[in-house]
Every structure is written in C-alpha cells, then in structure tokens.
C-alpha cells in the first residue's frame, strides 16, 4: 500500500506535466513542438518495430543505439578504474597532492567537450576518439571524489591499521577503499551523466553513426517527432543509468547507518 502511494507521489506530477504538454502543443500546432502522442508512436516506429527474430528491435537499435550505449558504458568504466585507482593512491599521499593539486584543478576546469576536436585530430574519426572524449570528461568526478574519500580516512584508522600490521593491499583494499566508497559513488553517478553527454556531443560533432548522429539526421530531415524521440531517449537513458547505479550503491553501502534507517522507514 505504501509502495503504491510512493509510486503515485513520484510520478503524479510527471504525468500531469506530460498531459499539459500534450494539450499546449496540440493547441499551438507548432511544427517544432510535436505533441507527446506523436513522439511516442515515432519512438516505437524508430526502435521497436523490428522483426520478432531480432527481439522486435529495429536495425537502428543495433546499428546506432546499442553501440552508443556500449561506448558510454565502456568509457565510463575506464574512467572509473583510472579515477578510483589513481584517486585512492593520490589521496593517501600528501606530497603527491601538494604537487598535483594545481594540475588537477586545471584539468577539471577544462570543459570536456572542448577536447573533442583534439581527440578527433589525434585519434581520427571513430570509436577511439569518442572513448577518449568520454574518458577525459568522466574521469574527473571519480578521481576528485576518490581523492577526497581517501583523505577522509581518520588518524585512528591509520593507527589501527599500523598496529595490526596490515599490508599495503590490505590497507588500500580493506580500509581506504571502503572508507572512500560513499564519496566514490557520488562521483560515479556524476560521471555517468557526463559520459552520456560526451557520447552525444562527440557523435554530434563528428560521427557517421550513433545516437547523436541520428539526432542530427532527424533534425536535418525536419523529422521533429524523431528528433524529440532521441531527446526523450537520452533522458530515459540518463534516468535508467542513475537508477541502476543507485541500486548498486544501496547494496554496496548497506552498512551505512543512515541507509538502513531510510530503508526501514520507507
């Protein structure tokens, strides 16, 4: 019963706004703002009208959507491995941080889309260029949050670890990593949305296929419903990534006092 109430509370306003959007767009009849009732069928037509043998998914899904999603996740995963690994090491070294602080702040301040032309020149057209752009953009939140998390390990834990003679790997993997995980997850969620942005941007700028490329193509053909379909899809992807990550985070960090409490009171 409470689950149903929660579900209604979460989605009521969303549904209402879509309905208002429907009414307003129908009344205005602007060609640039097709009503949701046109966008929905266009989405089905674009992606879900394939043969049964291909799970009812169209060629567009296999040729454009899945590769784009794959690149996003791969780029994000590479950024996560680099960010967490490097972040934990740097976070535990005051000397390294003293030297690298400015460099990190500088690197993070560069708007990642600006690096797309650079990767285009150095890596050429294709997946490596896109991955490069995604990794460059997505690595910062993970890296900086991992550094922060590793630095937050208190002096008593350092003493405890030394008193029990923990080895380097036991210390990093058994104490620093779990202590930093809450911060790391915050960084991971930030960076997956950045990865999604850079996937689209890199495909908008220079690509022969992919989600961003299809979005541009729809716009060029004045297929407004199709363009909106891709915009909605990006929203759905971002939302789904976030929900999935939150579920993983909730499971991994279930030891946190606040979490169990929140779960119990839900």
């Amino acid at each position: 019963m409470r689950g149903i109430t929660g579900f209604v509370q979460r989605w009521a306003l969303f549904v209402l706004i879509v309905l208002i959007w429907e009414v307003v767009t129908r009344l205005s009849a602007s060609p640039f703002f097709p009503p949701p009732s046109q966008i929905g069928p266009r989405m089905v037509d674009l992606w879900l009208s394939g043969p049964a043998s291909r799970l009812f998914l169209t060629d567009t899904v296999y040729d454009h959507l899945l590769p784009s999603v794959g690149r996003t996740l791969l780029g994000w995963a590479i950024a996560a491995v680099i960010g967490i690994g490097l972040g934990l090491l740097l976070g535990r070294s005051t000397v390294a941080m003293r030297y690298l602080r400015v460099l990190l702040d500088f690197g993070r301040a560069i708007p990642p889309p600006l690096m797309v032309p650079f990767f285009l020149v150095t890596l050429g057209l294709g997946a490596p260029m896109q991955l490069g752009a995604i990794v460059f953009g997505a690595v910062w939140p993970v890296l900086l949050n991992s550094i922060d998390g590793a630095r937050s390990v208190d002096a008593t834990k350092v003493d405890t670890a030394r008193a029990f003679r923990l080895s380097g790997p036991q210390w990093m993997g058994g104490v620093v990593l779990p202590a930093a995980l809450p911060k790391i997850f915050a960084g991971l969620r930030l960076s997956i949305s950045i990865a999604l942005i850079l996937m689209v941007v890199s495909e908008l700028v220079a690509s022969t296929h992919g989600l961003g490329n299809q979005l541009v193509a729809a716009g060029r053909d004045y297929d407004m419903a199709g363009m909106w379909a891709y915009i909605v899809l990006l929203g759905i992807l971002g939302y789904a990534f976030n929900i999935a990550l939150l579920a993983v985070e909730h499971r991994v960090l279930r030891w946190q006092p606040g979490r169990a409490h929140a779960a119990a009171s839900r």
């Binding site: 208190d154 008193a163 029990f164 923990l166």
Partner: protein, 288 residues
Amino acid sequence: MPTMLEVSGLGHTYKTKDGVHNAIGDVSFTVNAGELVCVVGPSGCGKSTLLRTISGLITPTVGEVLLHGDPVRGVPADLAVVFQDYSRSLFPWLSVQRNVEFPLRTRVSARAERRERAREALEWVGLSAAGGKYPWQLSGGMQQRVAIARALASRPSLLLMDEPFASVDAQTRFELEDLLLRVRAEHDSTVLLVTHDIDESVYLGDRVLVLSKSPGSITTDLDVNLPDERDQITTRASSEFVELRSEVARLLHGGEPATRPSPSVPDTAANDRFLAAERAETHSTSDT
C-alpha cells in the same frame, strides 16, 4: 616472573612551528609477564605519546623499548593496541564478526581458523550474539568490547590500552573495567593501560606508574597491594583503596613520594634512572 616489556631512557620531542615540544622526558620502567600496569598522568603529559612509542607507531627520539628482549622497531607482531576512540577504530563497513576477523589476515592464513578465533574472542567479551551486527548498531560500551575482542583475537603477548574507557559513561566504565580484569585473569594477559583516571588506575592495576607534567617522566612506581579479586563497591570502599588513590592524587599534583627519598624537581630524571637501574638489577637477579 620474566620481564615482558623494558622501557629505558625513553624520550620524545616533536618539532613544531615554534621550536621543539618535549612530549616525554626520560621514562624508564619494566612490565613483567602477566602484570597489569597502569600509567596515570595529568592531561597533556605525553601519555599517548608514551604509548605510541612503546607500540612502535612512532620512533622515540632517545631511549629504547624492548619487548621480551627484542628492540621494538615498528609495531611488533605480538602486540595489540586498544584505542580510546572505538567508533573510529572499528571499521563501520564490516560486521562485528568481520571486524574481529579482518586483522587476523596478517597472521592466520586459513579463513576457517580466523572465523573460529574471532567467534571465540567475541565469546570472551560476552558478545557471541552480536557477531552479525554492524558496530553502529551497538552501544558505545559494546563497541569498545568489540575492539578489545579484536585485540585479544591475535593473542598478543602485550596488550596496550590508550584511555580505553574514557569515552563511555560511568556505569559502562565499571562494567568494562571488570570485564578487563576477568579477561586478563582468564588469559593471563600482560596489559599496559594508560589513563587519566586515578581511581581506575588503582582499581585495575597491579602497579601504578605516576607520570609527571609535560615533559612526562615517571615520578613514582607504586605497588597496588589490593587483593586480586576486586569488586567495584567493596574494593573502592576499602581503606587500602582510599589510601592508594589519595597517594596517587597527591603525587599527581606534584607531591613527593612518601616512602622514597624525595627528589627535587630537576632531579626527577636522575631519580628515575636510579630507580630503573635498581629495578633492572633486582629483575636480572630474580630472572636467573
């Protein structure tokens, strides 16, 4: 009784912005196997520094620490430490059982044996039923018991405790004190406990070492002539206890030892060296 710990001429200075801070002066004493020795001192007298140098967490500027004859360089394998701040010392992401198990990885390779040892140690401190819980689900006193179990699970030959009961309420402190006395009697543990609580030092200790104001050095080495069986109510009410605690209090406030030749303040260190030498002599003769 064989000597477990031998501290001689120990001193430590920190470099600070405005020069050097002399945390501990010239500390010498010994702890025999099976003894529970309390170090009591005013706040800021370098108690924690003393404990950290003995445990090998920091290297002393001068002097030497010997654990059953071997010089301490880095934390020795058969030494365990219980810290005051149990909530920070325990790992919040591990269950109570795993908290006790985790540090055993460095000395016990078989997972099953680690699990068994941790279970056993939790039983010693009366927490058999709490193994599956997370530390934050327990009260402060129970958390400190987990920390004690974790230290005991490695079966250390010397247990160091840094103000272990300073962060719990009075009632819990009494319970934990009795728990410590019970556990060390059952396992014949050697314990060096640092505290600022005079009553606690007398109640727990076989001996009480009184530390002077910073730079700390030991002014008195007091034998506690109370029966081994101690009770929070009757022991604390006994005239011997009251006498001892007033004596420690008097010494802490700069008083001079009643039974020993009274050293003037600059001579404290010399007096300590003399006493240490005297003790070393008696021990070496009793050892052989």
